[in-house]
Symmetry: D2
Subunit: 347 residues, 4 copies
């Protein structure tokens, strides 16, 4: 593991996620700037199967590139890189080296998100016309930007470390991936209106966006770090011409599906429904309905599929280089739209 040391939010998550299903042992780590990650890669040759990268954004590309070249499989935190060009290069490199490259877009690891994807894939909602996605955090309202920031936040507000976008690259990519993953559609164009509302913040901390998707669907997409009082409000609504669905991350064990002439249906994680529902969703659940699973389990689900691919060298159901490139393409399009008078920009 590179990064994810003391004070890191995501490092412990990776470790708990890996341990939960006993998927792998942590054989070596390079947790701070003082350590030399190249030396660690060298040390791990033949000993480690894959490298997990939990560093700030600006080193993802360099470390992932080196690790792939060393022949390691790689799980790299999002966003995959600082630019689309870098992401594209990593995608090519992974393909050329036949290495597994995973990116923990965690929401796709939730059982009810998987159920949502599968219901749509088999036509339960009909043709998708509209998507509404909110990803609302209020974290920047808890920070006094006039004082030195703590380590966990400092790099996210520093363009050199986090890249040209803060909110879109940090959590917008999660939302974007969630939309494409669940609907199976591609985002074609975006109008983005980015703002920096938090005083003292130089990067975007709020974005209101309109999307156009393949097949004629449209979307409203809101993402924010200044949504005062929100913790992690990810709310996804997908409207097809036959039915709609609603998933709220803060009640992640449930999925609501509504038909025009029937009572609303609340699906529950791993409940033993009769008839075809979603094997993939059930397979991602560890414990019976009624008890709750959450973020660590979802994260572990991404790792479980990733480790399966590491083991058997075949495709499994987790986000990889393609998703890394798509999300970076989106980040750059959103930035262009916002600086070009909020015009449509191709993704």
């Amino acid at each position: 593991m590179v990064g994810g040391g003391k004070g890191s939010f995501i490092g412990p998550i990776h470790r708990m996620a890996i341990r939960m299903d006993d998927l792998a042992d942590l054989v070596d780590g390079c947790y701070s700037h003082a350590d030399d990650w190249r030396a660690m890669l060298e040390r791990c040759r033949g000993k480690a199967d894959f490298i997990s990268i939990c560093t700030p954004n600006d080193s993802h590309y360099e470390i992932a590139k080196a690790a792939l070249e060393y022949g390691f499989d790689v799980m790299c935190e999002k966003p995959l890189s600082m630019s689309l060009a870098e992401a594209t290069e990593l995608e090519r490199l992974a393909r050329r080296k036949r290495r597994v490259l995973g990116i923990p877009f965690t929401y796709s690891g939730y059982p009810m998100v998987k159920l949502a994807r599968d219901l749509i894939a088999r036509g339960e909602l009909g043709k998708i016309d509209k998507v509404v996605l909110e990803y609302q955090q209020g974290s920047f309202r808890k920070i006094d930007f006039s004082k030195p920031l703590d380590k966990r936040n400092a790099w996210k507000m520093n363009p050199k470390k986090s890249g040209p976008s803060c909110v879109v690259a940090d959590i917008g990519v999660h939302g974007f991936h969630l939309i494409e993953h669940v609907t199976g559609l591609q985002v074609k164009e975006v109008i983005a209106d980015l703002s920096s509302f938090a005083p003292g913040n130089r990067l975007d901390d709020d974005a209101s966006m309109l999307l156009r998707l393949s097949g004629g669907a449209k979307a409203s997409f809101v993402v924010s770090k200044v949504a005062t009082g929100e913790e992690n409000g990810v709310r996804l609504r997908v409207y097809g011409d036959k039915a709609s669905l609603f998933w709220n991350q803060e009640e992640n064990n449930y999925l609501s599906v509504k038909y025009p002439f029937e009572p609303e249906r609340i699906y529950k994680r791993k409940a033993p429904y009769i008839g075809e529902v979603s094997e993939a969703s059930v397979a991602l659940s560890r414990i019976p309905a009624g008890h709750h699973e959450g973020f660590i389990e979802a994260f572990a689900n991404i790792y479980r599929e990733f480790c399966a691919a590491v083991r058997d060298r075949r495709a499994h159901d987790f986000p990889g280089p393609r998703e890394g490139v798509r999300t970076m393409r989106f980040v750059e399009a959103a930035l262009r739209s916002s600086s070009n008078g909020n015009r449509w920009e191709k993704v």
Copy 2:
């Protein structure tokens, strides 16, 4: 009363709302095309205090104009007219004739919406940065457009009867008014992406919009009649730099307020809170907290304020010509934006 006869949705609401508080007696009515509303206006001279107009949109202007000229006060259904020009003319006429003109933007009659407005007005949320409003209906998914439509729906899909917009003019104006009423800010610009998703529908039935408001606030505004499975999903989120609020029409007796470092607060209609909350909100409540009030009560609240103005010829707290003009200005700006490549258009 003109319109609101058999098969009308809104006519009975007007009558129940008026009766609830014993505000007025219905002295005469002209409920169908066969009747002559001019003859009724003539008959009612000196007998009726005000006229309620519940007809399809295309006759609002003509009837309201005549009623004002006859010297009646008028409660006219939204949208006030087919065009901004007509709305502006009615506003001037009402002012010149010193007549009371009310428009039932019902949401502003809900006690918890009034509380939201008052909390914001006295600075509880701080400076408003962001608004997210959804108004989601799935009604057009229940209609088979290939068959003759029933009376209640037919005119709404007919541009001659409903005007150049369906979803924006029919429910978008409610959302727009709700935003301006609650925040106290003005919508300055709009980007609108209108669609007609329901097969056979000629007018807009879905709109994704971005707004810019006075004071630098921004908004995401979604309105739809093809949101399959939704009944009347009006969900308003307002984010200030000190706190945020959330109101969901489908749980209209509650208002959620969130501060960065405090537990979420759920305010309840007419609960006996200590300290300054909102006299206006409490005054709009008829029964104690715990029991529910709903749409008819909210409607009656609009009428109560309107009737107070009819009686004492002073300003009261209900939507009037100014709001009628603002909403028509918005409808026209949204239509322009959508046909001009989704550019910003001034409201």
Copy 3:
């Protein structure tokens, strides 16, 4: 109308409920102690169709009796009387005089309660095994019993005015009626553990009860006025061997139904479901799904059925003398059980 004057909670509700559907005009009233209700009854002969009694409990019997003897139909607030003996006498009198006697057990007027009753009646839940009912109010936590009580509360804490029970007679009867109305079963036996938790309160303000119902079903029944922070928490759960249902008065427009192997279903008031649901439920709804109806509408529904009976002298669907007797029978059994060491007592 007798009682229900200034400061009354329930008087204005009766009047709004009657006006909402234009069911009757208020022709005369006797709103305070100073007035002579016998004189009013005399005055109203031939002019009024029915008398509404909104006085404190201790005069229900006397006034209802007189009104029935005068030949009026009567709507009398709950509890019908101070004792089972009085209730039984009123029931006989109403039968003998062929008069309509209604009691506003309001919860049976809610559309979703009616849907619950109808789903059970046609076997959707299978054989009913278990009922859990909570009726939680915290009103007594808002009162300082060391000071003189306001008019609305004073008589409820005075055994001479309210009868030998406070919480069971005041709101317990609502819960009891709700159980019997929805399940169609009879409560056969009760164990009651009554308490007086509010300092200075002489009567029961909290009751934990176990019930046995006809057909072998059992129930847990909790009713309280010292449930701090609760407003009017009426929560009903009915478990059959095929399905269960849940109705929460504070979200009264919804009804949840759960089957073992299907997603939870959320039924909504007046939603246009396909197939047989409940005509009675739809008939009690005034406005479309998505908008809310509440307490006043439920109350008006009781009056609507009552007035239909007044008009056409046939049975309609509202609580009457039978329910008045049943509830008084229950109050007395609960009091006996609590004073007899919490033994089973027959209802």
Copy 4:
């Protein structure tokens, strides 16, 4: 580990809970009847620090006793034993041998349950008057008792394996422990009305109970395995004379607290509230508010405290022999009450 092999529900939970925080390694296991657990204990001498017992109820006592005598610390599934006498003996043995004995009453491991306990302990709710606890499962409605039962269920319905009670011993003990843990009060007496509703089930599958607690508080306590459609509905309401709280296991990351004259407060797991809240609650949280933790994390919290005690031989915050004895005392009192005409029985 003894038990918890293939087909076990709880075995994998123990293992995931232990691994999550890297608390211990699994050194040996005896997962089936074919294996000899005494041989395993022998093998593990000097190699294992503690033994986890996940077998059916009838062997808890025997294995725990042997393990304690071998000098191991023990984590034993609930109920601790088949009888109060056995539980008392194990308690004495653990004390004499100075061994750590833990019992995973999982609900006390949830961060918001810990917050509830701490709020009550420091007087936020005032004097506790009333507790309402439901523990509703519908699992027995998913079983066809006329066919051979699967391994996970078979022993629970077999008195020889599960003991004289099914629902009270299996999940009632969780509820009982939750009440005593959160309120800090002792249950003094119980009236229990047990039923066997599921056709073919010989043991109790439903219990309606009344409790009396130290300090004069009372409780209503419902526990069921025939609550059709429920998954794991644990709902706890505690009413004090100053405030009340509500915790719903199916939304376990939240805790509602209500005061008479203030908006309802929704506390969220690990949210950074200002002022004294609950260090213990925050310490049991791994990830920030907004993301969800669930059952496995709660289980891991019990293990974390248990392992701390194993390590440093001091008291930590987890359920142990005292709780094991209390719960068995309760099971026996409830059975006595139900067979003695539902009289009060001392706990």
